[in-house]
Symmetry: C2
């Protein structure tokens, strides 16, 4: 096992056997609309509450991903899963019927990176032939959780991001596929003292910078070694900050940087402020858009870096800052 300060290199890299994604109506009208597996007819997905709707997203994403991988639920040994809601109830109620041993995770919007990291570690260690990583977010349940119920018609500043309604599920395992996870760099919490919960891109950019910089050091690589470096949901403001911060570290990622939050909506016509956000943002964008390009070999190697803002309404109301965390995952095209 090769290791860097915060990194693991997998000698026998676990494969992403399959993935699946499901999104809401707004995502289904955005630039990536042709790539998603399922676009809901409305955002309630047949449920009575927004939280149940979000649970349904996880249930559907995992069911589809397992189907694509031709795996029964019994063959999936562990679930690594989480969401943004208090006590991660979307995950608990979404996945409980599957009766698969569950490691519940909370990493805010970085959870997709955390779940892929732990899932890959688990498979690479030989603890499982097959595991699943599942994350979700829902615009309406997140607004209710973090801001105001939609019925209040609250206004938002332009720096605010728009929580993606969607869930992405990934089946990882030893079975060969065209995409593999060759390494991970696990992030630490970075706190630059930002207190504006409506500007989460700025709050998360330092964490993305720290983990990407450490990744380059641990792997002895530079931006040009990646076809793309893809953050989770920094949005337009966070992207600018990230690129600038990494320039201070003498890394120029401006040519290869993408952000799932920027890609998923057309902010100009969709009124989504600085971009998309939420656990579901990076998960569905990776599953629907980037992973396809990896599997086809259009992209050979990417660094996928979901970013999370570690706040709650309680911490915010108590005047605490909004620290960030980000986890980096190296995903490569498998040639053979």
């Amino acid at each position: 096992m090769q290791m860097g300060k915060q990194s693991l290199f997998f000698e026998e890299a676990p494969y992403i056997i399959s993935s699946a994604n499901i999104v809401g109506t707004k995502e289904g009208m955005g630039p990536l609309k042709d790539y998603f597996d399922v676009i809901g007819g409305d955002d309630q997905f047949g449920q009575n509450t927004w939280e149940e709707a979000e649970s349904t997203l996880q249930k559907e994403a995992l069911t589809m991903a397992a189907g694509k991988a031709k795996k029964t639920m019994e063959e999936i040994r562990y679930l690594f899963a989480g969401d943004l809601l208090g006590q991660t109830i979307a995950t608990s109620f979404g996945l409980m019927d599957f009766k698969i041993p569950l490691f519940g995770l909370y990493g805010a919007c970085s959870t997709c990176g955390e779940s892929l990291s732990l899932g890959a570690m688990c498979v690479a260690a030989g603890y499982a032939d097959c595991v699943a990583a599942v994350t979700s977010s829902h615009f309406a349940s997140a607004e209710k959780q973090f801001r105001f119920p939609l019925e209040y018609a609250n206004q938002r500043p332009k720096s605010a991001t728009w929580t993606v309604t969607g869930s992405g599920a990934f089946i990882l395992g030893k079975e060969k596929s065209k995409a593999k996870i060759t390494g991970i760099t696990t992030g630490v919490i970075e706190d630059y003292g930002i207190k504006d919960s409506m500007n989460m891109g700025a709050a998360m950019a330092p964490a993305a910078r720290a983990v990407i910089r450490q990744h380059f050091k641990d792997f002895d690589r530079k931006p040009e070694d990646y076809d793309l470096i893809i953050t989770g949901d920094l949005g337009t403001i966070g992207q600018e900050i990230l690129i600038k911060l990494l320039k201070d570290d003498r890394y120029d990622i401006s040519q290869v940087h993408r952000d799932c939050g920027i890609e998923i909506y057309d902010s100009k016509t969709q009124g989504t402020g600085a971009g998309g956000s939420g656990c579901g943002c990076s998960a569905v964008t990776l599953s629907a858009y980037y992973l396809k390009q990896i599997k086809e070999g259009v992209l050979k190697r990417i660094l996928f870096v979901p970013t999370g803002a570690l706040l709650s309404t309680v911490s915010f109301n108590e005047g605490m800052s909004v620290p960030g965390i980000a986890h980096a995952v190296v995903i490569e095209h498998e040639v053979n």
Copy 2:
């Protein structure tokens, strides 16, 4: 690597190099008062808010545990940590200054079992020489989160449990000590449709039963193979249900069963209802009380089974049930 359906047996068992615990005033007046490392003079621990107080518990517990293990923070490669609060803010704000790569977890009151499991997996796989597992809860922050702020002087039914104010931290690694983790059984969510959030023992007992039963099958063991089988926070009502349910499965654990929630308070004189609860309950009771007996060889082998109730105020108010989850960890005395 030997494996059962939901279990892993570690051939090279990771050691619990050290652990530390800190509790509040009520715990410091209970039956285990002589065992705790630190008992706070008041429950605010010098902070302005209950949430910051809980963060301080994690910070102190980890600092003490690292000190006992003679490890610097740089030597701890990963943190596996969580708490009960929405978006696990006690963990984020408590551990961020350490700058250690963090895997944030949410498993309700089962989180101590989840963190020990993932930490042990990580060390046994060779991913780290040394990791830390940290969990906490605080009576006042939990009441505010799940029930009512203390100032409301809300009354509680006798079936309710009392959230423990405390944090336990465990340093796991390859370095030999007198206690080791020889196996784990990872739980699935069990939902018996219980909707009474004031009777969490009943809600969690089915999950404890399921994971203990599966553990016996996977390890081909029976209750007599353990000196003690210790659940997290079922309390008196949950204990009765668990023993009965396992009798239905032809396992009689009545002689060896203990529950941290029952041990930590004297319910008759302390007014703690059915017993203690919270992430901190099992963590501090293991650290202060049972682990000492393991290290001394008074106990040779225990099954430690933290139990979690997967609810939030939102799920409860929306009329959802309270599903449970539990994770089992085998801890053994190291003879050499």
